[in-house]
């Protein structure tokens, strides 16, 4: 059921008083559970649950030719599917905008934060490099699939082993793995999406809250730096609000990182 206007009014009024229907603070996440190694044939995989929202993320690799503008670096591809399995609102068929947006946003968080050390994924400059493919699938949508997808991508990459490669035959031995992990930076990027409801920002919206939000902004951080950002939906933000968003995202980034870091090992 789409959120009725009645509930929307109540939720907005409550949020103006800095209260939420499920009792959380405005900048508080639901419980986050990260589980890696959920699919054996993947180079790495993860299941992320935020409350009842759930995503599965897997990493596969193969060897291809590098892009002309980065002859000594590996390639990255990120795709997301909002599966009809996960919500009555998602239909079968070619991907619609929210799925494409999810893939694009997660791509940038991983790429721009330089989480993967791409130069270490070069096999032969200008000829052969590793291609890292991250696929995200929604399993149950109860709000905030976007941040769940980001955490899932990071967790799956952290758990990935590079497949064996036969250098003589120049062939990947699919289903056999080396003991090497995908080379990653020490610091972990996480994206936090802030949703504007009335005059307030909240994080980790329930489905009802996501429905009534008028603007959102995803901020990808790694350590002290912001490396990717995207504002979505129609409502403009003031500069004041941007200051606030930057501040909230930093605090929440540290909170979320603490929650997931233990589970990433």
């Amino acid at each position: 059921m789409e959120t009725p206007k009645l509930n929307a009014e109540r939720i907005k009024k409550y949020i103006e008083h800095e209260k939420r229907f499920d009792g959380r603070a405005l900048d508080e996440f639901r419980e986050i559970v990260v589980e890696t190694g959920i699919s054996k044939n993947a180079e790495g995989s993860a299941r992320v649950k935020i409350g009842k929202t759930e995503v599965l993320v897997g990493v596969k690799m193969d060897v291809t030719t590098p892009y002309p503008d980065s002859p000594d670096k590996g390639n990255l591809m990120v795709g997301a599917e909002l599966t009809p399995l996960s919500s009555p609102r998602f239909e079968s068929g070619p991907p619609k905008f929210p799925a494409i947006e999810t893939g694009r946003i997660i791509d940038r968080i991983v790429r721009e934060s330089k989480f993967i050390e791409m130069e270490k994924l070069c096999i032969k400059e200008g000829e052969k490099v590793w291609n890292v493919m991250i696929d995200i699938y929604s399993l149950n949508d109860d709000g905030n699939l976007l941040d769940a997808a980001g955490i899932g991508a990071i967790a799956a990459l952290s758990a990935s082993k590079i497949p064996k490669y036969d250098e003589e035959k120049e062939k990947v031995l699919f289903g056999e793995w080396s003991n090497k992990n995908i080379p990653l930076s020490k610091e972990v990027p996480v994206s936090i999406t802030l949703y504007k409801i009335g005059s307030k920002f909240i994080v980790d919206p329930s489905l009802e809250e996501e429905d009534i939000s008028e603007a959102k902004i995803t901020i990808g951080r790694k350590g002290d730096y912001i490396s990717s950002m995207q504002k979505g939906d129609l409502k403009p933000l003031t500069i004041q609000e941007m200051h606030q968003a930057i501040e909230v995202s930093e605090r929440v980034y540290n909170d979320v990182l603490k929650k997931i870091e233990k589970q990433l090992k």
Partner: protein, 224 residues
């Protein structure tokens, strides 16, 4: 919660009773001398009438049901209402208990607004709803909650005992639509949310017998 007050769960195709003295009730059929389940749900034997009480499945509209729906569209002579059924439901201006100006239908009920209505006819064209009874009409304040329609009887309870308990404990006005939508209105959001949580507790524990007692315990543990 103890196992003894958990009712017996049966699955489709399961033999529920053997012998010609048993009669097949809702959710069952006779095959030879056996009564077979056609649904997933709770087993019930009342004087050899065998039934399966489903806990899942879509809402099956029945004449006389009070339902809650959302205005989806406005036509020249009424409102198209979504009550969660495959057939569309309709309120004609003839079924409003007062005079309505045909040019101002949206001032009575606008798209996106919620309404409590009664089913007065189900026919090939769809479902006809009426507002001509007490307690029916547009909802202007409160929150709407959705549960599976098969759990509505438990939320209402025997002769309305369960819903009365929730109303008394929370001080909210509550209207339960047979289609699983529930309207809660209280004098504070806290009270409405308290009532919402109580209803969800009942809906999630529909498989227990002695549920009224369990709910009383729940209220004791969750009193503010």
């Amino acid at each position: 919660m103890s196992e003894k007050n958990q009712r017996k769960v049966v699955i489709p195709g399961e033999v529920l009773a053997k012998g010609n003295e048993y009669l097949p009730g809702e959710g069952t059929e006779r095959r030879g001398s056996e009564i077979i389940s056609l649904k997933y749900g709770l087993f019930e034997d009342s004087n050899k009438l065998i039934k399966v009480i489903p806990l899942s499945g879509v809402y099956q509209p029945r004449r006389g049901n009070v339902v809650i729906g959302k205005v989806e569209n406005i036509t020249f002579n009424g409102w198209v209402i979504n009550i969660g059924t495959a057939e569309t439901a309709f309120i004609s201006i003839m079924e409003i208990p007062r005079f309505v100006n045909k040019n101002e239908l949206e001032s009575v009920m606008d798209i996106g607004e919620m309404v409590v209505a009664k089913i007065w006819s189900i026919n090939k064209r769809g479902i006809d709803l009426s507002l001509k009874s007490r307690g029916l009409g547009k909802i202007d304040e409160g929150i709407i909650l959705a549960i599976n329609s098969n759990r509505v009887p438990r939320v209402i309870g025997k002769e309305g005992s369960m819903i009365k308990l929730i109303k008394d404990e929370t001080g909210c006005e509550i209207t339960v639509g047979q289609n699983g939508l529930i309207w809660i209105k209280g004098d504070s959001i806290e009270k409405e949310l308290h009532a919402k949580r109580a209803i969800l507790f009942v809906a999630e524990h529909s498989f227990l017998s002695g549920l009224t007692e369990e709910l009383k315990k729940w209220f004791d543990e969750n009193r503010k």
